[in-house]
Amino acid sequence: MFKDFWKSTASVVLFIVTITILVDFAWENPTLQTVSTDLNNWAVIIGAFALGLGAYSLIIRHSRIISTRRTMWPYSIVLLLTMLIFAATGLITGSITSSEYGWIYSTIIQPLSSTLYGMNAFFIASASYRAFKARSTEALLLLVAAIFLMLKNAPIGGVIHPILPAIGQTIWDFVGATGMRAILIGIGIGTLALGLRVIIGQEKTPLGGAD
């Protein structure tokens, strides 16, 4: 009873909020503007609460791993301990630009995450050697385009011969006007389709599955 009421309220809220903000885009009206500004701000705040969801599920999962002594449980202790150190430092100093927080941030998060991002350079290298074969016309096109564009991207291309970056630029302009443009249009239409499905309640997953 209460469950059904709550679920239909949610659907109605979703519909009204979406339409309000959409109409506000094209229709000039001060009241509408105030309402959609507030709705906007509220969503920002709920978004901040959502940041904690990940933390909650991680804490639960890793405490369970530790208490049942599953394989590699000591790593879970490391994980929870790091989390605790960061949360405590941040909350006690009261600002993420405090010198203490800045120190643990630039000592731990920054090197780790740029290393991980950069790791791709290595994986791309081994993949280039292993898998980047002109197996088909399609792969050949990808390959040729990529090589000319790389010569455009690095200063060395123009040093070898000025024609190389020029070819790269031609390909770049062509795909910019065709492939990328079509992809952008597709994304726009896809978003509208998703939005419509969610608003009219045909797409079940976003609101938490079938139940």
């Binding site: 906007n40 701000n41 630009t97 292993r130 990529a146 790389m150 010569l151 910019g176 990328m180």
Partner: protein, 272 residues
């Protein structure tokens, strides 16, 4: 185990080591290849250079640790250029969680607090959660979304914020970002208010930004470390990005070489 076998089995580790060397050696001994300037970079430079006193520039500061290497050098270069312009007001704001740390770092790097007065010439609003909704809120009515700046000073105490209420008061917006978020300013400032937007991007994001550029929706793009190097050349302040360009060239040649070897091997093998 023969040498051939060892090589075949550990080809990955060998490639990885070579790539390290190919990047590290030019970093330690730069060759000094010339840095050509792209039109997209030149457009950003010209626009920033033509700013008048009283103009307001929003720096979309969404640098995180993972894009630091590519975008931060651009950010510092543009900030430096802006601080050389007399009377141009700068707002630093981000929607990326780590943004404020890097914005502060950049301000300290160019000694911003000594050169200009905080609150009069520049303001750091920190980070606002909520992604696109946050940007939309700022463009719509900045003061209703936010009461305080990053350090907690009320916005009403900061003289330059008095006349700045919504996106109509921003002259240009330059957004530094990595991911889908680059769209946010375009969607929420350019689309509803027509404010001019430029991007400082990671290389991966450039291709579709280029479609926006050719359609006239954004006025310029800085591409990755390359764009930063070009900007450093333009403002005559060569730094970390220019230094990395030779390594960039060598690494690119290395990748092209790998791809060619791969295909030679493939076609030879097929003939057999």
């Amino acid at each position: 185990m023969s040498l051939r076998e060892t090589l075949d089995r550990n080809y990955k580790q060998i490639i990885y080591l070579c790539l390290f060397a190919v990047i590290a050696i030019p970093l330690m001994n730069p060759i000094g290849l010339p840095v050509p300037i792209d039109k997209t970079t030149r457009d950003v430079y010209d626009r920033v250079d033509s700013l008048q006193p009283g103009d307001v520039v929003v720096m979309g500061s969404n640098i995180g640790a993972s894009i630091y290497a590519e975008v931060y050098p651009q950010y510092v270069s543009i900030l430096e250029h802006l601080f050389r312009k007399e009377g141009v007001k700068v707002i630093l704001v981000g929607h990326g969680t780590e943004a404020p740390i890097f914005a502060e770092k950049a301000l300290n790097e160019i000694k911003a607090y000594d050169r200009k007065e905080y609150g009069v010439d520049f303001v750091h609003l920190g980070y606002i959660a909520g992604g696109e909704a946050a940007i939309s809120g700022m463009c719509r009515d900045l003061h209703s979304l936010l009461n305080v700046d990053y350090e907690g000073h009320p916005l009403s105490d900061l003289p330059m914020m008095e006349d700045i209420n919504d996106a109509n008061d921003f002259t240009i917006i330059i957004d530094f970002t990595a991911s889908a978020d680059s769209q946010f300013w375009l969607n929420q400032a350019y689309a509803p208010y027509g404010t001019d937007v430029a991007f400082g991007l990671t290389a991966v994001k450039v291709p579709d930004a280029y479609a926006y550029y050719t359609a006239g929706q954004i006025f310029g793009i800085l591409e990755s470390l390359k764009g930063a190097a070009q900007y450093e050349v333009l403002i005559n302040r060569p730094g970390i990005a220019v230094k990395g360009m030779d390594a960039q060239s060598m690494a690119h040649l290395f990748y092209i070489g790998l791809i060619l070897i791969c295909n030679v091997k493939y076609f030879m093998g097929e003939k057999k």
